[in-house]
Amino acid sequence: MHTAALKAERPASAADAPMLSLSGVSKSFPGVRALHNVSLSLYPGQVTALIGENGAGKSTLVKILTGIYQPDEGEIRIGDDAVKLPTADAAFRHGITAIHQETVLFDDLSVAENIFLGHAPRNRFGLIDWRTMRANAREVLETMGAGHIDADARLRDLGIANKHLVAVARAMSIDARIVIMDEPTAALSAKEIEELFELIEFLKSDGKAILFISHKFDEIYRIADRYTVFRDGEMIGEGLLADKPQNEIVKMMVGRAVDHIFPEREPKIGATILSVSGLSHPTEFDGIGFELRQGEILGFYGLVGAGRSEVMQAIAGMTRTSAGSITLDGTPIAPKSAAEAIEAGIVYVPEERGRQGVVIGLPIFQNVSLPSLDRTSKSGLLRLAEEFSLARTYTERLDLRASSLSQDVGTLSGGNQQKVVIAKWLATEPKVIILDEPTKGIDIGSKAAVHGFMAELVAQRLSVIMVSSELPEILGMSDRVIVMREGRIAAVFENKDLDAETLVRAAAGIAA
């Protein structure tokens, strides 16, 4: 079967009753109110776009609908029946399927099994029928236009985009009435996105209700019929998309005019402080060369997987390189560990906060002092007073919200955790600070604080490299922008009259 062949003519009618409706749903985590009294309706044969800034509560809602989280209060109705979804299994059985934001798949299992785990076809003895399962997997993949993926391959050996397609296939393999897609296009190429949209059209025509989450407005306008906007865990508005221009939706999302987010600043750019040339890695990047000047914010832009993080981790001593040289303040350095890089004056604020940034289980002040322990302790002996004063200085500058410095960082909200992470590396008093996706997953207020602080840092003659996949952030903060593509530098721009389209073209390798 192919999507095009089965496309039925069944126009969506707004008069239909909602297939799924949510009302008064709230959900809190320790210290964070993720959702507050929200409502949402999904209609058969229609795509509803759920729109909101990072941390608005979109994924939390998805997890509630798929039985991963339980709402603190509120009601879920499918058709006319109020339902409870205590487990992922219960959600399956009510015909709800989802493609989650993070790829929640099994690296060491085959593609076919990743698609069918939990609902594998059985033979007449009740045993799993691998042959049928593989055949079905191939069919599902083909239907989606992902026939190039080998159903027998181990998932580990697939690239990120293909993994994402497997996640889509898994959702499609369940005969569901309600399909949820949480940023399904984030890791896909243009061609794959096209195929996904074709699939969505088919599902629509099949009368399914679809919830589509994306940060990309072109996609939303192309595929969605309705919109629902969330801000800070609350439902701000909903309606038919055709009636709503983009700028109004953005206003609903952000709650204020967008250009206020980025601080005004007068860059005072000095001499070169860091110069990198010919930096190469056997498999990840090649011939990376650039200069960073004092008091400058250098933006690194690229599509996800372009290799920016790998380059930055190499500069900060975390990965070994095969060739190239790094000069800091006129002295050549070759850091072999993060410890050496920190000593030299280069710090890297990592992208994955939970895994690489905070040490959950240790209190705030110990997190902040960790890279500076040699400074706060005396001949190996801890001096708590020094640690507290260091932690207080930096956390207060970042306007951290916490009840005490002895509080476990794990009890802080994501944005406040990110502040602790940044404070931790600032406390080492570096010359160069590399921020990898510094505002990923933090709320709008904290985002502004981080941006304001970056401005303050460069004003104090520090030099900043900022890796970001968010165009407004790159455009709003950088003095210069380097675009990476597939492990190499694709272009370098001065940020004067730079526009988003130029950057996207460079990142995707499309000639201007």
Partner: protein, 325 residues
Amino acid sequence: MSALLKYREMFLVAAIALLIAAITLRFPAFARPQNLAAVFNDTSILVILALGQMAVILTRSIDLSMASNLALTGMIVALTNANFPGIPIPLIILEALTIGAVLGAFNGVLIWKLGIPAIVVTLGTLTIFRGATFVVAGGTWVNADRMTPAFIALQRGEFLGMPVLSWFAIVAIVAFYLVMTRTPVGRSIYAVGVNPSAAVYAGIDVGRAKFVAFCISGMVAGLCGYLWVSRYVIAATEVANGYELNIIAACVIGGVSIAGGIGSVGGAVLGALFLGIISNALPVINISPFWQMAISGTAILAAVILNARGERKQGRIILKKAEAA
């Protein structure tokens, strides 16, 4: 299934073939089919135990209490047999399976419902079960003279030219193969080990999968309790003392990853056979049995190093993909 797993098992088969060849050089009779069959028979109990342990290790847990469970169940069935000689042996086997499973479920419940790490729970039950063995028997041993002939004879009987004990192992291998590869329970055990958080999204209860794995390992240990006491015709507190580490070693040599999610029935069986061959061969080729321990230690280390190479995560390889595109 996966090519890599196949490769790993082939590697073990090759290592075992090499081992047998080397032994045969010193002692030609070793490779005779009857002798190899005898070695398999001798290793049957370890094979069955290794399969049970594999199910647990796959879920990122470990069962240190298997040998103690074996001793306790073995003692209880031996006492049952001694005190009620009229009870038929199939019922005795059922008793062994049940008691073993109950002891395994005790571990499993603590892990599932209280979330205590498996290594802590089974470290505790390791001593509790063994102490209980002493207590239920009042500190005595049950010797051959108190067991019925049928109790002792069952596993020694022959069926289609092979001892019944070997058939126990063969049935266990087939059953495990089917359960681990062809049933939702088996696959959920793998899934939980590969990625516990993804398992939640797939509708699998992680704690329950661990509980099931512990019931399986307990049941298997219970069965081996009967097999052990009837094989060595003695039930004592010290039976199989320290054997838990041999079982784990068999799994490790067989390529079962201690980090969970990776391992196969074939691998665990081959790992157990590898250890069985070594312990059988050393006395006959006149290498002092004192070498046995060092040799199996070296084999374990070699296996971990080799497996780690096979498993080493590939880099992202951005550049290669760029060239291919």
